[in-house]
């Protein structure tokens, strides 16, 4: 694969976003439908950059309460304790299980933040029409999209713990408001990764101008 390879759009062709079949557009203005799977064909997703930005900003806003508010409220023998994600990491670390602390830190704090930064980085590159290292950028995008489906780990753990640990009146666990925001971060980031059109990474500045709707 070479960076100098002709892109489909350059060749006057359009690829299907669903089944990736390369076909000739019905018209230039309106590429029509994929002859194989019947999905609508677009040269580039409409408003891809704008949509992705909006979702990333929304996710970033939610990222703050997700970390500031407690995700779990534990009531054990009459004493109530609320833990934020970072609080949980610190608790795990101080209680000696640093591998667990590391997992939670990576999965719940670093990955969501990393995804947001990665997507923002890609968007800025595309917007400035200077994609420096297209291969690395493309790989970055693939990783972001792949990780997305595993990001709800925290929410799942929360849900499990809340459902299982209900030993009233000795001990009970309730979800905190932070978990809702955390879920919002994950869902919005996944949607942002979906709306981003990776084909933009390969477009030359001239094409971008031409393809921009």
């Amino acid at each position: 694969m070479s960076a100098d390879a002709l892109s489909a759009a350059e060749a006057g062709l359009v690829s299907c976003t669903t089944c990736h079949l390369l076909s000739r557009p019905a018209e230039t203005a309106n590429p029509g439908y994929c002859p194989r799977c019947g999905a609508g064909l677009v040269w580039r997703r409409r408003h891809s950059i704008q949509y992705t930005w909006a979702l990333i900003i929304a996710a970033t806003i939610f990222y703050i309460p997700a970390n500031a508010l407690p995700v779990l409220t534990t009531t054990a023998l009459g004493s109530t304790e609320s833990d934020t994600i970072i609080g949980g990491v610190i608790f795990l670390y101080t209680s000696g299980s640093w591998p667990l602390a590391l997992i939670v830190l990576v999965a719940s704090v670093m990955i969501p933040l990393g995804k947001l930064i990665a997507l923002a980085y890609l968007l800025i590159q595309v917007q400035r029409r200077q994609v420096r290292n297209r291969h690395d950028s493309a790989r970055m995008y693939r990783v972001v999209e792949f990780i997305g489906r595993w990001s709800m780990l925290d929410v799942f753990v929360d849900a499990f713990v809340v459902a299982l640990v209900q030993l009233q009146p000795l001990m009970s666990v309730e979800p905190g408001p932070g978990v809702v925001f955390f879920m919002g971060v994950v869902v919005l980031t996944m949607l942002a990764a979906q709306t981003f059109d990776p084909r933009l990474l390969w477009d030359t500045p001239l094409e971008r101008q031409a393809l921009d709707g």
Binding site: H47, Q50, A54, I57, F62, P65, G78, E81, L206, A210
Partner: protein, 557 residues
Amino acid sequence: MAEPPRSGEIPQATAVRPKRGRISVIWIIPILAALVAIGIAVQRILSVGPTIIIVFTAAEGIEAGKTFIRYKDVNIGQVTAVRLTNEYKQVEVTARIEKHAAGLMVQDAKFWVVRPQISLTGVSGLSTLLSGNYIGFEPGASEQSANIFIGLDVAPVVAGQAGREFILNSGDVGSLSIGSPIYYRRLPVGQVTATDLQPDGKAVQIRVFVRAPYDKYVVTGTRFWNASGIDVSVGADGINVRTESVVAILVGGISFDVPPFMTPGEAAPEDTVFTLYDDRVAAMKAPDPLAKHYVLKFNESVRGLAVGAPVTFLGLPAGEVTKVGLAFDVVKGDIRPRVEAVFYPERVIELASAKEAALAEAFRQDEQKRRAFIRRMVEERGLRAQLKSGSLITGQLYVGIDYHPNAPKVKLDFSQESPEFPTVPSDLADLEAKVGGIVDKIDRMPLEAIGNDLKKNLESLDQTLTSATKLITNADEQVLPGLKASIEDLRRTLGAVERAMNNADASLLQSSAPAQQDLRNALQEFTRAARSLRILMDELERQPSSVIRGKTDTGGK
């Protein structure tokens, strides 16, 4: 959309400005997110109450983020930080107070660490065993808000209860301690809240708290006394045991009441100072405004006479001994016991009957009249003081004032401050002489001779017994054979009776026996009679009228 450009071609400028920067609907999402986040932030900021600092000497069980400040079992704040302060001598606890409780943070509010306490007076703070220690809170009365407080080392005994505090002055604390109960008519109504020395260090101040509504019984005339432990007093009037409750025995206690001679005044205001009496008797004792001191000189041992021993007038309590000492008579070369006693004329006057009330009042008022009366009693009737034995076991003595008409005449001299009251020798010497006489008589008894006689008697009794034994042996040999024969006869008779009975059996029970036959006939007869009766009953059921009208033909049968 324009024609797809070819590489290297110079793009064609467009005549119309390309439509750019259209704002998509998607921007609603971040705007909504921002609104939600801001909303939550505003709510959090608004709900945050003031942050206060409490300085404790020790922060036992206080943890940041886990310890709550509780008032009436409601969490009103949470500890956010604990750190050392003041050159590492004290602990500074920072706590965030909930907004709704912000108004309670006034200057004289009290904070203390609640921990489980098990003492004789009760168990408190048990809930902390499960939930961990917490900081207790009691609001103050001040209007001035504050945010730095000094925590109490000990929980106030009476947190959040209505009632009043009073101050008691006492020589020492005795067995009282913080938490010792206060009793009113043996009902626990309060507690000791503090014990402290007075500034000069010569007495103690005890702060007591009496709960509402019982605090209204503490009035201006109330007297408090120490009800600690078991009060056992052995005096000339016997053994007296008094206690308030088992708790009071163990941890001490204070009782209060209004003495009967006082008219209860108005409810005493907060922090009224009272005297703490040593015991109930001291507290309930009426102040005797009329106290007349007399000196008694005895000619005998006063062993057993203690200060406080009663002085009785014709057997009724009228005063007490205040001092037991010696009187030195240099001229005669004589030392005699000298007893000082106080006499309360009012106690005697009070006992006058209703008719003599006017007279009693006159005696109470007029000292000259009283003196004249006493002088007459002493000089004409022979009123004398005498040592008397209160208890033979303990040897306690008291002073009894009684009439001794045969006593030598004396003059009563009221000119001295403490007049000398004439005495007579006690009866104790007589008693001793009598007992001595009895002992002498016992001594003179011919105990030895009696013993010898007794011995002889016993010997003859022995002989008698021996003869008796012989007699019985003879009886055995001579009487028994006859008895044996008699028994043999009896047995034969019984055999005959048995045979007779057997015959009777046969005549009655065999089917052919005549008696049996008769019985069978009788039973058959009875069966027939029963059958007829049944028929009659059936008939009556069908035709009840047949009793009156006789049997009708249609009636069947």
